[in-house]
Symmetry: C5
Subunit: 338 residues, 5 copies
């Protein structure tokens, strides 16, 4: 059922809740007041019926049908067409989902069209019905209340993004390489968020410029300015997030290089140590190899090798080996190879 | 044949389809209405004929002849000269090709000049002929419809660029080094796209400022504002693409360094492993070399080597070798070289 | 006790110091003048009492209750609502703490609400009471004095941040890797500081635009312009700090890479040195190994080895060894291996 | 000779070509029309003579004498002083050379002063003399024609810079390290070019603001707007070049790091390969060394070595060597060292 | 002595040079004209005397006393208060030193206060006294002349900074690592310079807006516009310097990485060469070791080794050694190890 709620208000009070759109149109024509109709995924026929009754402009109806993908406010004669992009932070995927809400506001009607679950329009209606003084301001009060709700729903998005950035800052200095992708993805989300929220500033500017011309109630002006003030803060936060992530990315690049330096230092030290060791090993190899040469010499089979026949030959050879090895040992020691 | 179509309209209806430009001029002078002439690569003579008949300004004709390379709107007295740069996304090369369309709009004529295949002007004419109410607005309706078509044709360009960026994001984190060039090339394309679309904002601003002065129909104003709204979105997307690619480039640089870190770690580990191995090999070399020294000693030919004549000499020597090797083995083991 | 001070002034002089808010309201109604009430963490009831008496706007009261987190100035009919974000530099943590002060200024009242220790409102009151001429300007003089105090208190914040940046510059070129985090953290503080101070520029702009309309005294205008001038300098310093830290970050990245180069050069030199050494060691190994081969040959047990029986055999073999070793030595020397 | 050309025009036609400046002044006073004087590096005296005759402002004359180094347009009463910075692309050095042209335009005179070869003022005069209708507009037509010429001469500069950027793009991806300096130098040239061309936008803005006040002919307005349009395109191109070179620099840095990765991979692979080889060599060393140990043992001279006297001793020893070597071979094979 | 010069002018001519300030005030009251007083580090009392006489605003006097640290122009009723920040380039340290000059300009006085050596106010006075026509314009002529002098003194600062940047460019490509710090320090100087000069643009804007209201002489307007023109050029140069240094920093980072690549290539080549060498050495080791094995075998003492008793045994063994070595040599040669 696409018609969520459908009521007629007079002086801030609900005076009728027609069952069908036709009945709404008739009651409105007969008794005055203004109709507030909430549609959820209406069919083309239903949309055309509403458009015909309230004289909605075909370009606006076209946007409402196809989606416009950018917040805007367009004035067609006496009526306003407003596109809003409510946001919802999805913690599991660290993304922001954007829906789209359309609002037609005329002298005696406010028609809201929604295709996603957010924003909570029922809550908006409850709030206004509890504040008859405000609702008595007519369809413009509905416009205010929907704007207020959509802007209020950005607060958890800002909180979610801020929380992610806090986590990223911790991750950054802990050296987790996965932070690169996270920064990139979050920066894209923030850009998306800025694209959704920044046009609201122009929107409120356009609304304010129309305050005098269209005789908007002073009190309602204040309420709208209050919402605008929230928008300014949200847009500033978005911009702040963008800068923080930019900084985080720069810092991350530096940290990655810094870690590389540490790795390189480790490599350099390993290389020096390995080279030291090679010297040590080679030195010892030389020390135990030297006696082998002497043994080889006295193992030669020459007939005339005087030392061989001397009784001091053997101890002499052993001593020679020991001396040779010792000399090498001392030489290496002195050269700091050992 | 440079004249694509050539018709005279009165009250939104095609009343004549003259065979030649001369006939058009005569019919127009005789019966009123307005002429809509579509030229495709006209010769200088044809352009001069049209210019002379409709009093087109020489500077505008000069631009139409040589190409102006930047979208603009210039007002010469009662007539407008519009330059547009339609775009076409070429998927194969991931480039955007820009053409150029010129439009002269006066009180009783609309002359379109095209040198490339895009935009689809025939479609524009069909659309307008099916909507006599709009066409009855005269040459300004033609201006609107051409603007709308050109701006609509930017949508697939935006989609193509977005698709490339999505692919680049995937490529980015998969470590393909070819992504550097792709980011660079796409960033150049996006810059080109921004150069083509951003002047449209000023153009629509200039058009809007002329709305009151030149008595543009309110409904047509809305249609033009609707096109402007599309332009805003397209320009915002272009800017978003630029920022995304900027981010992608920064992130890519960091990822490249990150990969370098991994490579360096691999190198460092290989170096340490190789150094460990060298110690092992050297140790084993020492272990098997040590017995050789003993064998060498007892291979010496001294006459007086008491051990040689003892029956326990040989087993003693073998045991000495074994003990020597074992001691070395234990020493190396203790030093964790083995 | 939430009521810090509560006084009624006439012609710049304190004429009454009522004990309760009720008394204040009565005295004010009876004798004129204006009330200056300072509240510290008021309860909701107290806030409501003040709001009811002075007709404060619910939206402003709501902001005062919940905190608004952004400096702003809002005009509700004849009264002004001002939100300020006083800052305090905490040297120990190198952070800037921001409080929030609310000020309601009407024709006959100035109500200040504070929730933190800063700013020093008592000082503001003392200063004004010592300058009756200024205080005679009424509640707007209070507005000026509070603005002046809050802006003056930014000076030590600027000094603290500047001092940190000076330290960072020294740290930067000393090669301390901890500087990365410090730059990042300080940049976040500076961003926060800019978020607190930049809205003041718009605030003073709005105040100035109201000077003529609301008949602000010329002398007071000058005082306010003087404060604005301080704000401009503070905002410029904040922007300068941001740029300096940006530069520091870029320079730091380059220095890190530069240090990497030095490390790599060290590694490269170690590698070359180690390779030189390997050549040297191998050469010496060859030189002492060569004689071993000759010794081995003459240790063979062939029956017919003519040299063995010759008396010159042994010296010949030794000479051969020496020559062999010498030749190798010279070859290696020539090849620069030794 | 500093006076290049010196003519008096009436109704768009050259009516006199005085030989000296004195004659020009006299003719002009006597018969009206306007003088167009072209000076090339005039002496101070000549400049003073012209200044005195036409009442040129001392500040403007001072600028004309010393050079002003920035395009500007200054109005002194009825006369205009224009400084232009014509550019010339020098292909050999890939630099842009900037000259300076001064133009004094009054009710009845146009004085151009040039110190370099560009722009081609003779061409400007020829063009105007061939278009009497335009020249009949008086000195302002000269202003237009000089502006047009100077702006037209920027076209080859833009083409030259674009060509350099194209070459840089190719060089970039070919890995030539010299591209760093080329990007830097070209970026400096582009900055210089922007400094020369951007002030023209303000200049044309100032001219346009004076259109109504000074009754500039509508047609001439269009011509000037046409030149302005060229300036916009040139300034946009300059900005585009700046961005392209910025991108090129970023991409270049990434490519350099990417090449480093490849180098490091090569190093890493070489290191691993070298380590593999060391294992292989060591294994073979062990395999051929093992038999040596056995040979050494059986070369010992113990009196009682039973195997020595057995007929199977020798083949047994050889087999032992073979088995020992084979076992080692298999062990190493199994450990994948061979 | 704080009073540098103290004179009264009428119609552009110095008519009195009072010895004391009191005398000045009296003369001025009695005979008209205007006083131009130059103070150097005045005491508070002297400042107060001047302030009282000329009705200087306390806020301005406060700024003059404490220093304001930012160029500004403030209008207090009929009088102007101007703060200027003259700059001086110190070549030795490559820094820019900024002083502060205050100027009070009223209907009949111009009071200049200086605390540093620059600017050369005596020169300003000399220049004006030599140009009575200009000085006849009264105190505003003094304002112009001081502004002109301060702005002129920025020229050597610009030249000094430009010279440093030129040197940095050379240093950059010569690979001197000290350039990092130099770029950073100079960038800080340039930022300081921009902070000093940029407010001048707003200042001149404020002056121009007052031209009509305060009836500034047309000729003086031109002179002031001429100074403004200099300021624009100086501010543009400052901005250009900032960009050049930004570029230099980016390029420097790339060059550092490029040098790293070269270092890494050197390392990689050294590593490959060292590995080649290891193969060569090992091969030669094997070649000379192989004969040792054969010698060892024939050195064994087995009773039954048939070859030992053959006359061809010895040559056979030597040939075997040679063949063995040769085979190894050829194998290694074929495997490209030698």
């Amino acid at each position: 059922m696409p018609v969520i709620d459908n009521a007629i208000y007079r002086d801030g009070v609900r005076v009728a809740t027609p069952a069908t759109l036709e009945e709404t149109f008739e009651t409105l024509d007969a008794h005055g007041g203004f109709a507030w109709i909430g549609l959820y995924r209406p069919s083309d026929a239903e949309l055309d019926a509403v458009a015909a009754e309230f004289g909605l402009h075909p370009l606006a109806v076209e946007d409402a049908r196809k989606g416009h993908q950018r917040a805007k406010l367009e004035r067609y004669g006496d009526s306003l067409f407003v596109v809003l992009r409510p946001g919802r932070y999805v913690d599991r995927t660290e993304t922001v989902e954007f829906g789209e809400v359309h609002l037609f506001v005329g002298a005696n009607f406010a028609v809201g069209i929604r295709r996603a679950e957010t924003p909570d329009v029922a809550k908006v209606r409850r709030r206004l019905e509890e504040d008859p003084e405000l609702l008595a301001q007519g369809p413009e009060a509905v416009l205010y209340a929907v704007l207020d709700e959509v802007v209020d729903e950005y607060a958890p998005v800002v909180a979610g993004l801020e929380n992610d950035i806090d986590e990223i800052e911790d991750q950054l200095f802990s050296g987790d390489p996965a932070v690169t992708r996270r920064i990139y993805d979050l920066a894209s989300e923030v850009m998306e968020f800025q694209r959704a929220t920044r046009p609201l500033l122009d929107m409120f500017g356009a609304l304010e410029r129309g305050f005098d011309k269209y005789g908007v109630d002073v009190e309602l002006q204040r309420y709208l300015r209050d919402v605008k003030d929230h928008v300014i803060r949200i847009v500033e936060r978005g911009e702040g997030f963008r800068q923080l992530l930019q900084n985080a990315l720069s810092v991350h690049a530096t940290l990655v290089t810094q870690r590389q330096n540490e790795e390189m230092q480790r490599l350099s030290e390993a290389s020096v140590a390995s080279s030291e060791q090679a010297k040590k090993i080679s030195s010892w190899a030389a020390i135990i190899f030297a006696p082998t040469l002497i043994a080889g010499i006295y193992g030669m089979n020459f007939a005339f090798m005087p030392e061989l026949d001397e009784p001091w030959g053997y101890p002499f050879a052993l001593s020679l080996m020991a001396v040779f090895a010792l000399v090498l040992y001392l030489v290496f020691k002195q050269r700091k190879w050992l």
